[in-house]
């Protein structure tokens, strides 16, 4: 029987209250959101917090909001809410594409955006999605509020710039009318973590690629992205040959490990194929919007 070790439990009444409790209790206290990464880790003693601060009651962190050309997603928004959102599927198809293959519908009822970003598993799909979208992350703590780019947000596997006394409150990204996007993932079985996954975001201006993002999950890509492939694509005509070359570059610049999900050469191959498919999918999604 797997059960967590003894732990104290408190509920945060507001974001400020959560920060106060984190400050008072010190680094042995941990926020718990959906609990679908933290509780499994506590069962295995991979995490042993002395106190849990439950933030499920913070309804003001649960939102999907359009704010001019910025789309804002609250940290306590559940996977299932992202998947069901009409606004999200209109502006960023990459999100429902990914959400449909994150875990299973029951797990998606609990897991949250903030929990996914802060868990920072190297195979976390939303990390690749928000990398492709060039998202910004809002973090609040005793020293105030800061907004940081997803570039540099992850400081290593399972580690981020969010300090032990801070709380991630929001993820946001800039939308535009002709923004196309798509996400492609290969897993061993339904509901499993990715063997490899690639997401792409594209917008054209006068036929040229004016905005592009390529996110990669589970393959050791720095910042979950293929930045050389992105730089190569920017400003060029979106042709099949160009996409082929960008997919090859993405495959070369990531750094997958061989593990029980497959050898690294196989994962590199997947990155090439999936990046190519995601770019195609993003382009046709964008063209559909331009008409």
């Amino acid at each position: 029987m797997q059960v967590p070790a003894p732990v104290e439990y408190e509920r945060a009444l507001s974001v400020d209250d959560a920060i106060e409790r984190l400050t008072r209790l010190g680094p042995e206290a941990r926020l718990v959101a959906g609990g679908h990464s933290l509780l499994p880790m506590m069962k295995l003693r991979l995490a042993r917090p002395e106190c849990l601060i439950d933030i499920n009651g913070l309804a003001d962190l649960s939102f999907i909001r359009r704010d001019g050309n910025v789309l804002r997603i609250g940290a306590m928004t559940r996977h299932s809410e992202l998947l069901a959102s009409q606004v999200i599927s209109e502006v960023a198809k990459i999100i429902p594409d990914a959400e449909a293959v994150i875990a299973d519908p029951i797990v998606r009822n609990r897991g949250t955006v903030g929990g996914s970003m802060c868990q920072a598993d190297p195979a976390e799909d939303l990390s690749a999605v928000f990398a492709a979208l060039d998202a910004m992350v809002e973090i609040r703590g005793p020293r105030g509020t800061r907004v940081v780019s997803v570039n540099g947000f992850h400081t290593g596997p399972y580690s981020t710039v969010v300090e032990p006394d801070e709380i991630l409150t929001e993820v946001s990204f800039v939308t535009q009318k002709n923004l196309g996007s798509a996400y492609e993932k290969v897993e061993r079985r339904v509901g499993d973590w990715a063997i490899a996954a690639a997401g792409a975001v594209i917008a054209l201006q006068d036929g040229k690629i004016q905005r592009v993002g390529i996110g990669l999950a589970a393959v050791g890509a720095p910042d979950f992205r293929a930045s050389r492939a992105e730089a190569y694509l920017l400003g060029k005509d979106a042709t099949p040959d160009l996409f082929d070359e960008a997919a090859r570059m993405a495959s070369a610049e990531c750094n997958p490990n061989s593990d029980q999900r497959g050898p690294s050469a196989y994962k590199r191959h997947l990155v090439e194929v999936l990046t190519r498919r995601a770019l195609d999918g993003a382009l046709s999604n964008s063209k559909g919007k331009a008409n």
Partner: protein, 165 residues
């Protein structure tokens, strides 16, 4: 710590350890053993029950997190001596063999039909994709849920005696 949790319409005020998982509270502390407990790792789905109307894997929820909330378990499907259409469907279409996965399957099926009274086979398969059946096979489970969708009239479908015949 003390928690107050409404389970199947009954309020339970109980003393618990904060680390107690909801599945163990439901089974061992208040004795509702209809909810099963299998993999411990949020993969098998036999522990599925409703927390405030949403199906969740109760092996991965702390009892403390359910304090002040409502829980619904498989015991609550039968109402006034009448089985829920999903229960009848599982009888009618041979949706279970050993029955180990069944409580979770039933709670997910009920939640699906409440939101989508006429799901496609694909939607049914998607809904139960976080749940594992090791013996019946999914074909009959999908049929059972389809049966429930087809036989859910406002005043309930066939009664148990009719189904058993």
């Amino acid at each position: 710590m003390r928690v107050n949790i409404e389970v199947n319409g009954v309020n339970y005020s109980e003393e618990i350890e904060p680390r107690l998982l909801l599945v163990h509270f439901i089974r061992d502390q208040i004795g509702l053993t209809g909810t099963h407990w299998g993999c411990d790792t949020s993969n098998c789905g036999t522990c599925v029950l409703w927390l405030d109307d949403l199906p969740v894997k109760s092996c991965t929820v702390l009892t403390a997190m359910a304090d002040g909330h409502r829980v619904r378990t498989v015991e609550d499907l039968e109402q006034g001596g009448e089985l829920d259409p999903v229960q009848k469907g599982f009888m009618q279409e041979h949706g279970l063999q050993c029955g180990f996965c069944t409580p979770g399957m039933l709670m997910t099926a009920r939640a699906l039909l409440d939101r989508n009274p006429n799901p496609s086979d694909l939607e049914i398969r998607e809904a139960i994709s976080g749940q594992i059946c090791r013996c019946t096979g999914y074909e009959n489970i999908v049929r059972a849920i389809r049966w429930a969708a087809a036989n859910s009239s406002s005043n309930g479908a066939l009664d148990v005696a009719e189904v058993a015949q």
